[in-house]
């Protein structure tokens, strides 16, 4: 049977009535924990133009989180801050390229990533389904907070202009861009590529590829847990968080994306509350979502709103 065009797909995701309360309580619980930032200059990764620092801070559950922070040496006045959020099975990059464009760029390694996995390490595969039957201990509750704490780190820096903070990422980074923009009102611009973590339960019907296949694996072994899984994931689904996004945002999808099905990207985009939103849908592209050309669009969009 031919597939429904991606932009006409109707998601089966259910909106929990108390989703906003759940996240307000989680944010409040996180806010009670001191950030305790540690910033260490890294001469090996620094260049003539860019200073690179290793950063560590404390997040929800008092898990110590790492990141890379890069700033341009030649600057006048305060810098816009940019949070870079990582893909599912990639290492958080050293964000020199963004610093080179004039941003104070922070690349966060949420819990379970290398350097942030001493206290929490469900592994890959594994992160996606860790405690998936309980929204209060599901892996992404802390993971989302770690990304949000990255915003707090930028806000703690004297060289960063609090009114010019953005977020960007691809794949899981696209999903974290959505969740962070939804949960942190300080975000002034967001660019999400091929967003993951949107339509989790839709995705396992749309693709048999990993990482979403981890959920299908889990349900094959634990069929009786399906209702609990659906209930938990509904609180973390980008489709259900998008109504909280009010900043300018752009989203890109590849119409042949087998990793993060474009249907789920459209469903999330439709739910975004911001009037200043734009979708870039690329035919002939998979999970790359035409990064080769779309990168310049992201650059221009962030520059327009954050003014590096």
């Amino acid at each position: 049977m031919p597939r429904v065009p991606a932009d006409q797909y109707v998601s089966n995701v259910r909106m929990p009535e108390d989703i906003d309360r759940f996240w307000e309580e989680t944010l409040a619980e996180t806010a009670k924990i001191p950030l305790e930032p540690k910033v260490v200059h890294d001469p090996l990764r620094s260049t003539e133009r860019i200073d690179v620092y290793e950063v560590f801070f404390t997040s929800l559950d008092r898990v110590r989180i790492a990141g890379w922070y890069a700033t341009p040496r030649d600057r006048q006045g305060k810098l816009p801050g940019l949070l870079q959020v990582p893909g599912y099975n990639m290492e958080p990059p050293v964000p020199k390229a963004w610093a080179n464009k004039g941003y104070a760029a922070f690349s966060v390694a949420p819990r379970g990533k290398l350097r942030s996995n001493r206290q929490f390490n469900p592994g890959y595969p594994g992160l996606l389904t860790y405690s998936m039957v309980d929204r209060n201990t599901y892996s992404y509750r802390g993971f989302y907070m770690d990304a949000c704490r990255g915003v707090e780190f930028l806000l703690s820096r004297d060289e960063v202009d609090d009114d010019r903070i953005g977020v960007t990422g691809h794949s899981q980074g696209g999903g974290l861009t959505v969740s962070t923009a939804a949960l942190r009102p300080e975000i002034k611009a967001a660019a999400a590529g091929a967003p993951y973590l949107c339509g989790y339960m839709d995705a396992i019907e749309l693709t048999d590829a990993y990482p979403y296949q981890e959920i299908a694996d889990y349900l094959r072994m634990n069929p009786d847990s399906r209702a609990d899984v659906e209930n938990t994931l509904a609180y973390f689904d980008g489709i259900n968080l998008a109504h909280r996004i009010t900043c300018p945002i752009i989203v890109s999808v590849g119409l042949q994306d087998s990793t993060c099905p474009p249907e789920t990207g459209f469903a999330m985009f439709d739910a975004i509350a911001s009037a200043d939103k734009r979708m870039y849908a690329y035919d002939g592209h998979g999970h790359d979502a035409n990064n080769h050309e779309h990168g310049a669009i992201v650059d221009d969009f962030l520059a327009k709103h954050l003014k590096p």
Partner: protein, 305 residues
Amino acid sequence: MTTLSGAEPINFDGYWQDTLAELAALPPAPEVQEIPLRSTDFATAYGVSLTSVGPYRLYAYLSIPRGEGPFPARYYLPRYGSVVDLVPQGTANSQRREHVTFAICVRGQRLADQPYAAAFPGLLTDGIDDPADYVYRGIVADCVRGAEYLANRPEVDSARIAAIGNDLAYTTAALCARVTHLVCTPALLYDTVNLARRTSAYPLEEINDHLRLHPEREEAVRHTMSYFDLRRFAPHVNATTLLMAGADGSALDAAALSPLIQAMPGDVEVHKAEHSGYKDGRFSEEWLSRSFGMAEPSLPAHWRG
């Protein structure tokens, strides 16, 4: 056109013969354990532990179709990063219905990170000042160990064993003659020091970082990397090959790779990247299914039609 230049290896063949001899002297001592969570009604998944040079204990994911074999095999060599997947992200899990798949975690990667947990960035330059200490010597051997193990599995069709990946797929095909097919996207081990100078992107930026801090070590680094340059492995690659070149104008486009292509004695088809994971991925899947004599390529739903 890129030519071989800079420091020459004192004895390229001897270096690798010694490494392979060291590997051969160590029994692989496989331990195989089913992974029910990743098994399906059409394939059984296993975790495999193996010993490589060092000695060092490795881990790998093995998937075997249910039913009568032998089956063609796909050997996935790891990309640069800590995570290894059962099958690569975004590819069809249904490929496991008709193929044995094998994905190895080399030293330093997750599941093979005790006692050595690699840093990313950091792995590419670990021990790079001396070819005897360079971590990639062990990594290349790890990949050969995996190929030997896979080729010896009774479920595997020995005439259809494909190594798939970046540079490590290439070195594996060169050092293990039992690899019959190769799908390779060169990335790091090709004129590495000069390639790094053309980019500020990681992981090649690791080389620039290292030489920025230690400029006096450049000759030593060039010397070490000369043992790992794909061009020197090329005469040993007899597998039927699909070489995924960069798009025209990129650092590793077909023109830049021509010395590699010309030095390979086997059949080589070159595909120029189209800046599309879908188009390049589909081309690769269709090439492999044709080469394996399969009726249909293993495509995920969004790549069909």
